[in-house]
């Protein structure tokens, strides 16, 4: 299963090589051209069937949040900083792997037996944490790890029950796996499927890819926040697992092109595919960079709901995943130049 392979691959923002290699192997047989740009975006081109003059960009980001080693101390502990948005509270005692050689390590934690009362409710800032790789000196550690190496959570992909899977980096390997499925078909128009880099550190890959391609419309495919555990108050769950693909209306990075949102909704209703709207103004995606490119590009974001993103273990529902693929395929079939004209 490609989602498993992608989830277990390591690709923190700026070192997406392994993810890119896996995706390339999987999509190359289905596309007409494939290349890597100077930032590391994997750009594929698939010629259209010829009925439509449009040029459509589909994107999913390859990178995940993680860590970078910033300093190795005299005792051989690794000091590090987060790459992308990570909640410090979830780090204690977590297993990580470092660098290309996948050196295993543990983020150190003081045993509960020794905790003073006042320490129990305190969050330890990331600059006070270290990764322990079992080295007893700086020299020993430096044989395995160097400054600037990336570290990622060490999480095995697992099926939980019949419909749900657990893994790391579903944000956005879920989107990558959806996109890898979408490129297997040919559409009425030319499709540029782009697997972008550095989304988690500022939508950087998407920005240059969109400039190069200059598409008439763009869709970003994502793994997005589901906050659907029981709550005290009747407030938004952002999205919910099992309720279908999540369509963005507006987030912090962009306002989805309204006719594309309508097209997605109309398509879902016509095809009997469940869908939900993501809570407005939460998060941001590659669409934030894409829609502002050149003279502006009509853009939309469709996402697979995932619980616990940006943590060592996220959870998604495989029916949502399959329905995201179905919705996108059907929507692309219905996309015409007329839909993209505002008055």
């Amino acid at each position: 299963m490609l989602l498993k392979q992608l989830s277990e691959a390591i690709g923190v923002s700026g070192c997406e090589d392994e993810v890119r290699r896996i995706i390339r192997e999987n999509v190359e047989p289905y596309v007409d051209e494939i290349s890597v740009d100077s930032l590391g975006n994997l750009i594929t081109y698939k010629k259209g069937e010829g009925q439509s003059p449009l040029k459509v960009m589909l994107s999913a980001h390859m990178d995940e949040v993680g860590f970078m080693i910033t300093y190795i101390d005299e005792k051989g502990y690794l000091h590090f900083r987060p790459v992308g948005g990570i909640d410090e509270r979830i780090l204690l005692g977590k297993r990580v792997v470092i660098g290309e050689k996948r050196i295993p390590g543990v983020i150190g934690v003081k045993p509960i037996h020794l905790l003073k009362e006042e320490e129990r409710n305190k969050v330890i800032p990331v600059d006070k944490l270290v990764i322990d790789i079992g080295a007893s000196s700086k020299a020993e550690a430096e044989k395995l790890v160097k400054i600037g190496d990336y570290a990622a959570f060490a999480t095995a992909f697992t099926q939980l029950g019949s419909k749900v899977v657990k893994g790391k980096a579903f944000d956005d390997r879920a989107g990558c796996a959806v996109l890898a499925e979408l490129v297997k078909e040919r559409y009425p128009f030319d499709v540029y499927a782009v697997f972008t880099v550095q989304e988690e550190v500022g939508l950087r890959g998407a920005k240059v890819a969109a400039f190069r391609i200059g598409p008439d419309a763009a869709f970003a495919l994502e793994g997005t926040i589901a906050d659907d555990l029981p709550k005290k108050k009747d407030v938004s769950p952002t999205t919910r697992l099992g309720y279908g693909p999540a369509i963005t209306i507006m987030d912090r990075s962009f306002v989805a092109f309204q006719p594309l949102v309508r097209l997605l909704v109309d398509t879902a209703e016509a095809e009997g595919i469940p869908y939900q709207f993501k809570q407005p103004l939460v998060g941001g995606t590659d669409s934030g960079a894409i829609h502002l490119t050149k003279e502006g590009i009509p853009s939309a974001t469709v996402a697979v709901p995932c619980r616990y993103i940006h943590s060592p273990a996220s959870i998604l529902n495989l029916e949502d995943f399959e329905n995201t693929i179905r919705l996108m395929k059907a929507t692309l079939r219905r996309l015409t130049p007329e839909i993209l004209q505002l008055t």
């Binding site: 407030v235 938004s236 507006m250 962009f254 309204q258 407005p280 103004l281 003279e295 502006g296």
Partner: protein, 330 residues
């Protein structure tokens, strides 16, 4: 001009949903333009061709206004919401919002321990009078705006959304009164200014102007215990020197001052510590574009009751007409 101002300020048009206000403005400027188009983000771009020998000039005012967006509807039919643009919770309690379909909502608050404290956004809700979730006439993603009629009280005008419908009204008035000038003038009514100057980013790229001027509101320092600022209502349009995100191009700034002097209108110089305008995005487009701002002094910006002085508005029209007849060389 009051009729235009009334129509513009009372029309619905939050950031990201400008279709209705765009249609209204298109109705005003359609006949006055040599070419008109709507770009991919929804910016309305109206070109008045010059007689030749001039520059490509872009004047921009944003069509969008601040608002709130529904993010959840609870079982009892109450709405939870997020803000669209710089909305302060202080301005919300007891206020009314209007949705695109005409539904009016009242903003209420949960019980607060400290009654003196302003309830934060997550303690507020909107009541549209719905019986329950099923009968709620509003959906997730619908955007509401403040609802208030224009009030004309002597020379002072009070309305919601003077930011920046007053700029839009000024551009329309300039188009109506403008004689032939050497420059090709692009009158641009931008979208999504309040959520990040986004319409200005794409429209400026598309036009690639040689000179760009934004027309927008600015704060004043003339109310009781106001933060210090040397701009007052009624003392003329303000010519921006700097704000939080831009330094006006000295050439454009001086040309605006000269234009004010030639037109015989009073002006003020503006240094704004917080906030910015479309000009900040315009000046960084492509290889960089000389940009400036004509600001209309406005009290209570981003509340349902913004106040401007009509003389400042009329003088801004004169200033811009004078600016467009000058050679724009520096």
């Amino acid at each position: 001009m009051i009729e235009i101002i009334k129509t513009l300020t009372e029309t619905y048009g939050p950031s990201g949903n400008e279709a209705r206000i765009r249609k209204v403005i298109k109705g005003f400027v359609g006949k006055l333009a040599d070419e008109i188009k709507v770009d991919a983000l929804g910016n309305l771009i109206a070109l008045r061709k010059g007689k030749g020998g001039g520059k490509k000039v872009m004047l921009a005012a944003h069509m969008d206004e601040i608002g709130i967006i529904v993010n959840h509807i609870d079982e009892k039919g109450f709405l939870r919401f997020s803000k669209v643009g710089g909305v302060s919770p202080r301005t919300l309690l007891g206020n009314r919002v209007e949705f695109e379909n005409g539904v009016i909502g009242v903003i209420g608050a949960e019980k607060m321990e400290d009654k003196e404290k302003t309830p934060p956004l997550d303690k507020l809700f909107i009541d549209v009078g719905a019986e329950d979730k099923e009968h709620c006439p509003v959906k997730i993603g619908d955007i509401g705006v403040f609802t208030r009629p224009l009030v004309v009280q002597g020379e002072r005008l009070i309305a919601k959304a003077f930011d920046d419908r007053i700029g839009c009204a000024i551009l329309i008035q300039v188009m109506q009164e403008l004689d032939e000038v050497p420059h090709d003038v692009y009158f641009v009514f931008t979208v999504q200014e309040e959520i990040g100057l986004r319409g200005a980013v794409t429209s400026t790229y598309g036009i690639a102007p040689q000179v760009a001027v934004a027309i927008d509101v600015t704060r004043t320092g003339d109310t009781p215990e106001a933060p210090k600022m040397a701009v007052s209502l009624g003392k003329g349009p303000a010519i921006k020197v700097k704000d939080a995100r831009m330094l006006s191009h000295p050439g454009v700034r001086e040309a605006l001052i000269k234009a004010a002097v030639q037109a015989g209108v009073p002006y003020q110089l503006e240094v704004l510590e917080g906030g910015t305008t479309d000009a900040a995005a315009m000046q960084l487009s492509r290889e960089g574009i000389p940009a400036g701002v004509v600001s209309i002094p406005c009290r209570y910006v981003h509340t349902p009751s913004e106040m401007v002085d009509f003389n400042d508005v009329k003088n801004a029209v004169k200033l811009l007409k004078s600016f467009l007849t000058s050679p724009l060389d520096w």
